[in-house]
Amino acid sequence: MGFQPVKFYQTGTYTVGNRLLSPDQRSVQAGESRSNSINSGHRACQGCGEALGARYAIDAAMAESHGQLIAVNATGCLEVFSTPYPESSWQVPWIHSVFGNAPAVATGIAAAMKVKGKTEVRVVAQGGDGGTTDIGFGCLSGMFERNDDVLYICYDNEAYMNTGVQRSSATPPSARTATTMPVGPEPGNAFGQGKNLPEIAMAHGIPYVATATVADLRDLEYKVRRAMKMHGARYIHIFVPCPLGWGTASNDTIRIARLARESGLFPVFEAEQGEVTSVLKIRRKITVEEYLMPQKRFAHLFGSHPHPEMVARIQDIADRNIRKYGLLDEEAA
């Protein structure tokens, strides 16, 4: 079924809140009593998508677990901007160990809670795309395989941002990073490499896998809450634009995420036991250009020495996603 949007009531469920909806139809973020898991004063850049995505997700998890939550964090921006020793923005029990072991730490905490009989306490682990798809991948795959009772959330900003924008296996083709410079005949990150972690997670046959973006709050909250209703290993992959690393305006973070989804480049779906059960349809289809152009990391594709053939290959990726996941409504197609 997936998230069921409310279509009318002026702004329906497109906006964060809506005074015309009944209270039980409203979002966690609209509430004055949301837990604000990451409080003000954190040191994330202006307009940071990761700070926003993490608050959206953890607030929803807090709401669903009635505040009985422990959060584990891999190294990365989220950890560094929120918790420079000895101060922290976290308003939930929170632990950081090292870069690559967040899934294992979370597994341990879940086991400890079980031993102590604290069944109401739930565990969430979170990390950036580098921490998840690269260095933490082994621990994560193990956590999946053992079906440990942890919800793992990856905040995907498509590079190692905290150390200065290096390529990760989630960096998209042709993107400029500090380690994939826009030089040579095919500038930027290579085509045909990298990992699709949501699909890898699905291949583990775990109870729940979902993708989400910071532009689709209601869908994101629905997925976190749904995952929190389940037990075993669950995985949510959230698309979080990074103004600093992507060269986008700080006020454009949500718009860029929306464009990624509307172009088909970032498919938003959910899957149970390895099978896709719902997709978030494209509402107003756009070309990939519209998504790529506002980002400086793709500037070398346009301008005085453009690479239309590379743009076309990126469009192919989007089109394939649209076909594969059925992202277009019959009538909109």
């Binding site: 009318f8 979002s27 929120s82 000895p86 949500i254």
Partner: protein, 539 residues
Amino acid sequence: MIKPFAITLKPGTSLANLTGTWRTERPVYLDRLPPCNNACPSGENIQGWLYHAESGDYEQAWRLLTEENPFPAVMGRVCYHPCENQCNRGKLDSPVGINSVERFLGDEAIKRGWKFSVPQHSSGRKVLIVGAGPSGLSAAYHLARMGHSVEIQEAGPLAGGMMRFGIPKYRLPRDVLDAEVQRILDLGVRLKLNSKVANIAQSMQDFDAAFLAVGAHIAKRAYIPAGDAAHIIDAVSMLRSMEGKEKPMLGRRVVVYGGGNTAIDVARTARRLGATDSIIVYRRTREKMPAHDFEVEEALQEGVMIKWLSTIRQADEGQLTVEKMRLDDKGMPEPTGEFETMEADSLVLALGQDVDLSLLEGVSNLEVKNGIVQVSDNMMTGYPGLFAGGDMVISERNVTVAAGHGKKAARHIDAFLRGASYEPQSKHELADYGKLNTWYYSDADKTVRPMLDIIRRQTSFDEVQGGLNETNALFEARRCLSCGNCFECDNCYGVCPDNAVIKLGPGKRFKFNYDYCKGCGLCATECPCGAIKMVPEEI
């Protein structure tokens, strides 16, 4: 506090870190002027009353609406709704049906018997109003609510002016008009009917100020050589006689001369009176016709015929001589010398109206240009304390402008009575389409109002256009984008990565916490209605 294991410094919260210092721009909340409000000749706060209608609070919506205009049920039928032409939603799909929601509120008020609140204090000042048309009645309403004692002297046997003696019943049922007039009188306004003011200087002696709103009732004439037996009448008298017992005798073939809305109303009325042929003769083309396109369309649907590019040269018994015209380079009609005759039992002239200024004789300092009394920005004539508005002053002639003049005059009269001057609030900056983030609005097409079936439109004076019911009025209200004015969608509160937006609770909107706001601008960009603006910090 027990220090956590292996931690040597006291743990603290990031709240100690005032990230507001990073900011180079700050978001500020503002109310921008919605284009609909800007276009309403009565200055209605459309966005404001739609906001209440959206949540189903129709009474509150009606109360806010009538702060500016006491005639929603009338407006919802006869106003030409320039607001809708400017509505931002028109750029998205089609404009919000402002006028149809207005009518729904007006009808709801009549049905539920909502009344205006009677003023609590009395100023002891007396104002004379001449003419009980929309302009005079609107002025009376506003002045009465300000606590002044108001007397209307009206020449005719009933109140309403052209709303009663011009606009036909099939567009404005009289029980609707009566209800909205009565509600104004219930405020304590005295209405003296059959009391034509012959000399304003004399009549206003017992009053502290006067407002003239006598309209424009003298039919303009065109010189048409006519045989003795030709049956020629003017549109104003013909429509006026529709309100009496004796309906006008027009015959089976009626020709109407003119191209304005009045000509259309006459032709449609003639059709309903039984004319088999009701023909409008107009000297230019449809594009040049001053009548509104929708009215022309409705007339054509009812079987009214229009003879374009024609002038009437001669009228005889049962027959007219018509000359064909052509348009010159400037679009002005010029004669061709080609003539033809057409049968006609009667000819109705709908060529516009002039103002009867005889009551102004002997008033000093008056400035009259081309038969029009000049008023300054405050609606006052050259004679202190004598104000004027509506059809008799230079402006567009319609009910909404007239009601707007009445309101404006009332505010200036009130100031005049206190020896002060009324300064209107400066207008907010416009909430044009570019200020909106329309992503957030649901897709929803305009609701169409039901129309009476064509047979009844040709044979009866039943109202042609129906109203919305509760369900579709609510739907229509909720199509509003709330341009430029916060409607508490919580987007700013939600999208701030720094929790720097404080929610003040339902109806109280939000405020920024500048201690932590980094000035990223996400809230301003994602605000659907353009109610946040980024302004540079002084650095």
